[in-house]
Symmetry: C2
Subunit: 236 residues, 2 copies
DNA sequence: CAGTGGTCTAGACCACACT
DNA sequence: GTGTGGTCTAGACCACTGG
């Protein structure tokens, strides 16, 4: 039950250690860490590899491992709106606009890998941050995978509902981000003037088996929201 | 000279193998791959780990490794405008607007970790795709690290110039993306009506030693450009 | 030159999926 | 139960950095 892989424990330990070091300070060598925490060097490397990916440390061959410069580096990760707002120090909320079941349209059916006309659950919400509109969000889910969803409270985290009530864990998501201007209807719901800029995020959420679970379109107020993340050179 | 790590060779081989399989088809087991390619299982796992991160395959414990569903999955990676356009099947180009050396302003100095007033090179370009304006780009570089840069041809890839002439490789970048509306001056350069939406990307490019090398602000036409990428659940 | 991270091996046991 | 991926070990050699 308890996932207590050594490299995970070590990773969390190293996270704390790193937090107390200055930027660009050298960590102990891999061999030293292995001896100190009584694990093999391979395990140390596994833990450091995750921290390197996360932008916490960087490694220079022949020189050592060092504390990375944490300025932006909010590594882009799959989070719910609720988690996202909490991380930004804001109080998340919701105003339910629509919650119903409809036949899938062609674009929705295609992204969810079902047939056109199959029933899907649609949830439209105005997401709030400290009670002010932040985002207009439309979610489509395959009805068959979430029986009884519409009977639950839909003002909280949909991700938690999926995980707790339907044993669905979202592991990955494919996203497309673009800039748009919001028109009258959407502008009113977001509480901004027509023609205001917004960040539109289209997302397809996938479970551990790579099956599409949800399709979401989010419209974020440009004056309230931006996306920060770190990118790397790709391996050939 | 040639980096021919076994796991890299294997990774490329597996990329080709995967390309010939159907979506969700199972790959050979790790032990079988190890035997077939005459490497240890650890090496196989190293190669598969990179492919999993890249969204090429997914693994299910106890079940196997499978070909991922490649719909969006243009994994976000650090690329130059030239590479980005080429990947989209467009011909990149540039129109130089400004190329000079100026004292660093406070915000530029802060992101480049230098003192205010230290000389920086500024390059402003309209980036073209098939000869049409796509993006308005402003780059700042620490003058001391790129001597003689202004004497070179600045209409091509700046990244290539940095790599070939100054031995600077950009490994990582911190980015912030937001939606804006472009005003008169910028709108004219981009060839769009004032008030049109645009995607603004602020980037700090870092080298292998985690040192800031460049600070770039890019303004992309919203009607021509979006950003697609895959995100994952974060490790605690 | 010594010391670092990068790569690789051979073998072992565990947790989980599937039948 | 059988077979899969997940974890871990102990040891070895290589490539690179830095004094």
């Amino acid at each position: 039950m308890v996932l207590a892989a050594k490299h995970e424990i070590l990773r969390q330990q190293l996270r704390q250690d790193v937090a107390e070091l200055d930027t660009h300070a050298a960590l102990p060598t891999e061999r030293e860490l292995a001896a100190r925490y009584e694990v093999s060097r391979a395990t140390v490397r596994q833990a450091l590899g995750v921290l390197e990916e996360a932008g916490v440390v960087y490694r220079v061959q022949g020189a050592g491992t060092f504390v990375a410069d944490r300025t932006v580096s909010k590594s882009l990760s799959l989070t719910s709106f609720s988690e996202d707002m909490t991380a930004r120090g804001l109080r998340p909320g919701s105003r339910l606009v629509v919650a119903d079941e409809i036949p899938a349209t062609a674009p929705v059916a295609e992204t969810l890998r079902i047939d056109v006309g199959e029933p899907v659950v649609r949830v439209v919400r105005v997401r709030l941050a400290n009670d002010a509109p932040m985002c207009l969000e439309t979610v489509y889910l395959v009805s068959g995978r979430v029986p009884g969803l519409l009977g639950h409270d839909l003002t909280g985290s949909l991700y938690e509902l999926l995980a707790e009530r339907h044993d669905i864990a979202l592991i990955r998501a494919d996203q497309v981000v673009k800039a748009v201007c919001v028109d009258g209807a959407d502008a009113a719901l977001l509480g901004v003037a027509p023609g205001s800029p917004a960040l539109q995020v289209d997302r397809i959420g996938l479970d551990q088996r790579d099956r599409p679970v949800e399709r979401t379109t989010s419209l974020y107020r440009a004056d309230q929201y931006d996306i920060a993340f770190t990118i790397r050179r790709e391996q050939p």
